[in-house]
């Protein structure tokens, strides 16, 4: 990841302080500080000839720009139109959908998943950005009867996680994904929840989806979770864990450095999307887990390595 000139010349501690205090101007803020959006954008020219008009509507960026100075807000869309189910064995939860602007989404209806999944997805997506998790852009529909989580359609994904697909271009993002799983107690990082898209030089780029089963979606349980880690029983096989240690530690340290005020705003936004209120202890539980993120991460990676043996 290349740093902006502003970041290169500013001591890290000063940068962090100025970022937290809001004195870092937008111009000085590295646009892709967490190494995410610059590589994940889908360029209109990269697709070559258009096989269809609708494919062209997939062109808006699939990952939004990180906002280093303020928590993100999840876009509320008035409605989307369904375009058929996403073919996936063992589940019929997801469907393709298109919004009024023509943007393409993968939709999960709350009537199928429950509001708990909506809450978990929202919280995960909001935290994904500062940690550097390569999660597709997201939005919600909150119209009565149509409540849904929307994950931006990534047009060139042809594979789920496979150790044989090729070298991973964004190991930092994959590592950050595991950190977020540990923090939110998400036991669902199986192969189908890591999407692979082609990258330069025969490599592949990983995208992380689906935090719907995270314990963070169950407020009372999460508030009492302490430092409980998610089960690794369903973890994708063959993850390059030995190569992820350093990146995971960096992401965990970013998590531990998150401003409590920003985290509180993040929790408020996630619960607003789920249209419920956090129970006592929820934000505190999340803040505690964030504060010990490096330790939680090391322990989680150890569990994953044990399972891999």
């Amino acid at each position: 990841m290349s740093n902006s000139p502003g970041q290169q010349t500013m001591p890290k501690a000063t940068y962090a302080w100025r970022k937290r205090s809001g004195s870092l101007s937008r111009r000085m803020t590295p646009r892709f500080r967490y190494g995410r959006a610059s590589k994940s954008r889908v360029s209109p020219v990269s697709f070559g000839p258009r096989p269809s008009a609708t494919l062209a509507r997939a062109m808006p960026p699939v990952a939004s720009e990180p906002t280093a100075t303020a928590p993100r807000r999840i876009a509320r869309l008035a409605d989307v139109q369904d375009r058929g189910p996403v073919p996936s064995p063992h589940t019929n939860e997801a469907s393709y959908a298109v919004d009024a602007s023509g943007r393409l989404w993968v939709r999960k209806r709350e009537s199928i998943t429950g509001w708990e999944e909506l809450l978990a997805e929202a919280l995960a997506w909001l935290l994904a950005d500062p940690l550097g998790v390569p999660a597709p852009d997201a939005a919600v529909v909150l119209a009565p009867g149509e409540e849904s989580w929307l994950s931006a359609f990534v047009p060139d994904v042809v594979a789920h996680w496979s150790a044989g697909a090729g070298p991973i271009e964004n190991r930092d993002g994959l590592a950050a994904t595991l950190v977020l799983d540990a923090l939110l107690a998400n036991p669902d990082r199986h192969a189908r929840n890591i999407l692979l898209a082609p990258a330069a030089g025969g490599r592949v780029r990983a995208w992380a989806i689906d935090w719907g089963d995270a314990l963070a979606g169950h407020p009372a349980d999460f508030a009492a979770a302490g430092e409980r880690l998610p089960s690794v029983r369903n973890a994708a096989p063959g993850l390059p864990l030995a190569d992820l240690d350093e990146h995971a530690d960096a992401a965990a340290r970013r998590a531990a450095a998150l401003d409590p005020g920003s985290v509180a705003s993040t929790v408020a936004e996630a619960f607003a999307v789920a249209r419920t209120t956090p129970p006592a202890g929820y934000a505190e539980s999340l803040l505690h887990r964030l504060s010990v993120a490096p330790r939680l991460t090391r322990e989680y990676l150890r569990l994953l390595q044990e399972r891999a043996r």
């Binding site: 509507r57 997939a58 393709y96 047009p155 060139d156 042809v158 594979a159 090729g166 189908r192």
Partner: protein
């Protein structure tokens, strides 16, 4: 009886734009993968996705259900029978796959 399933690359699920990718053939000796020739000009990211799809499908060794590493934009069609008079089903599919898929 030899059976096969056509594999298609769903280049655009919103318009259902599909390209024949190959076939899974279930023979007495196990599952074989036959790749289809590239019949449309693909460039850029779509070409890269196509190439990755071809790299992955040759690793498939199951017939009834695609392995977890196959993404939603690669789909397998219904089970079809190779005509009884065909002596070498794999060769027959390799020569006729695009025609069969059409």
């Amino acid at each position: 009886m030899t059976t096969y399933r056509l594999l298609t690359f769903v280049a655009d699920p919103f318009s259902d734009f599909r390209i024949p990718l190959g076939a899974l053939v279930r023979t007495a000796g196990g599952v074989r993968v036959v790749l289809a020739p590239t019949v449309v000009e693909l460039k850029g990211t779509l070409r890269a996705a196509w190439d990755l799809a071809r790299r992955l499908v040759v690793q498939i060794d199951t017939f009834d259900e695609l392995p977890p590493f196959i993404g939603p934009q690669i789909v397998a069609g219904p089970v079809l029978r190779v005509p009884g008079e065909v002596a070498d089903p794999v060769d027959w599919l390799a020569r006729n796959l695009v025609h069969v898929a059409a």
